[in-house]
């Protein structure tokens, strides 16, 4: 299948779904094969922690290493195919205005926050908590969590392996468009992290738009 490399004209007025997701909130929706999901970083520098499951069999899910190895690169941008643990293409990035999105950093959790920022920071809201609450609607739990995508998050790796979470390269209004290549359950935590620059220390809302398959 050809991957579009130019911006496609998608009219929000013709969308089948168009909602703002508040800062810190979870979200999920089944995106049917061929439908397009747009994620807009409304105010800039927001991290959007996202996972993907085969809607018909959620034991098939996004695989960070398969996605990385398939394209030979740790970043996600236009043309990247998001690959499942069975080697199938789940989503294709058909348009990206940011340039790169993180595959390595994973999600924040109460437990990792306690280690990273101090034991007294344990009871702050975190992405894994968002994920678990949303997954409960599908009778899923922590067994179903794997390394996720962080859209709009900047995690460079140096030659010696040093890894940093640094200021985002996103800006207000940046968009990424993902086309579903199978029926996909998309799980999002609009990251509540306030302890590092991934959210510019200030979680902000995003906008989610879905279009039906375009010919």
């Amino acid at each position: 299948m050809m991957v579009a490399t130019l911006p496609i004209e998608l009219d929000p007025a013709k969308a089948i779904y168009d909602e703002e997701l508040s800062a810190r909130q979870p979200w999920s929706r089944i995106i049917k094969k061929g439908q397009i999901l747009r994620i807009i970083d409304l105010l800039g520098n927001q991290a959007v922690d996202t996972l993907f499951y085969n809607a018909d069999d959620t034991s098939e899910r996004y695989s960070a290493p398969d996605t990385i190895v398939r394209q030979g690169n740790i970043f996600i941008t236009t043309g990247t195919q998001l690959i499942s643990n069975e080697g199938n293409v789940m989503m294709t990035v058909i348009h990206d205005q940011c340039g790169k999105h993180d595959t390595l950093g994973g999600a924040c959790s109460m437990e990792s926050n306690s280690v990273r920022y101090g034991l007294h920071k344990k009871h702050l809201h975190a992405c894994v908590e968002n994920y678990l609450l949303e997954l409960s609607k599908y009778e899923m739990n922590k067994r179903d969590l794997v390394s996720n995508v962080n859209f709009y998050m900047n995690v460079p790796v140096s030659e010696d392996g040093t890894l940093e979470i640094v200021d985002g390269i996103s800006e207000a209004g940046k968009i990424i468009d993902l086309r579903a290549e199978m029926d996909v359950m998309v799980l999002i935590s609009n990251c509540p992290q306030i302890n590092n620059p991934c959210n510019a220390y200030n979680p902000t809302p995003i906008r989610l738009i879905v279009w039906d398959a375009v010919l």
Binding site: I74, L104, S147, E159
Partner: protein, 252 residues
């Protein structure tokens, strides 16, 4: 002490402390519970093409290896001596108390049927009924099945004895030629750890001939960590990780 002759003095283990010592052929898998405080040594006997590994809290396997937390909490995507391996519950599965390889990968995951077929061609079965091209994903699934676990319990793995460079634009490059026969890594269990090892080539290893080499797996009884233990004192993050981990065993 099978491997004593090829190890530097650094690697000498008192034979009376050894609990298990076995050779794992190329292409094979192994699963075992390492009790808290004991050490697993993985030795590259003949110049490995990579060894894939996953691990769990043996007492509650819903807690498991998290490569993303392991990398970001320690600000490094490559494992080295003095670093630890984090679970997804802010606790520590293993400490890397010794390492003579210096090349371990947290990024690339493992081989599977498709990647092996692409690299080596269609596999078959030899006269012993063994598959030519066992892959790590299938090996993990076999071991998980024997433990009552399924593919829902499989997560991104780490790779021992594998050198992968990340270029500034994000491109990955497997750096071959750094395999050193006799190099080893010592993993001290900080909780009771279910470890699953698949001795298959790294998914990016460029050799198109399938020839995983044998490794030696040695488990021995370690002495209690000293107050200045390298892994337990490396930084504030790891100190907090050990506070979380030791709390699991505080009632024993």
């Amino acid at each position: 002490m099978v491997q004593a002759s090829i190890l530097p003095n650094l690697g000498a283990i008192d034979p009376s402390l050894i609990l298990l010592d076995e050779k794992l052929p190329g292409g094979a898998y192994w699963h075992y519970v390492i009790k808290r405080g004991n050490i697993l040594r993985v030795t590259d006997l003949e110049g490995s093409q990579g060894v894939s590994m996953i691990c769990y809290n043996a007492d509650s396997p819903i807690e498991r290896l998290n490569v993303a937390d392991t990398a970001k909490i320690q600000f490094n995507a490559f494992l080295k001596k003095g670093m630890v391996i984090y679970s997804d519950m802010g606790r520590i599965l293993f400490s890397i108390t010794e390492d003579t390889s210096g090349h371990h990968d947290l990024i690339c995951g493992c081989s599977n049927t498709a990647s092996n077929t692409a690299k080596y061609g269609e596999g078959s079965y030899n006269k012993y009924g063994e598959s030519d091209y066992n892959n790590s994903r299938n090996n993990f699934l076999k071991a998980l099945g024997k433990r009552g676990l399924t593919r829902k319990d499989l997560m991104p793995n780490l790779n021992l004895f594998s050198r992968v460079a990340v270029h500034p634009n994000g491109d990955l490059e497997y750096v071959a030629g750094d395999e050193k026969p006799g190099s080893f890594i010592d993993l001290r269990a900080e909780m009771n750890v279910l470890v699953i090892i698949s001795n298959c080539p790294h998914v990016l290893h460029p050799d198109t001939v399938y020839k995983p080499q044998p490794i030696q797996l040695t488990v021995w009884k370690s002495s209690a960590p000293a107050p200045d233990d390298l892994c337990r004192t490396a930084n504030e993050e790891v100190i907090r990780g050990f506070i979380n981990t030791d709390a699991l065993f505080a009632q024993e």
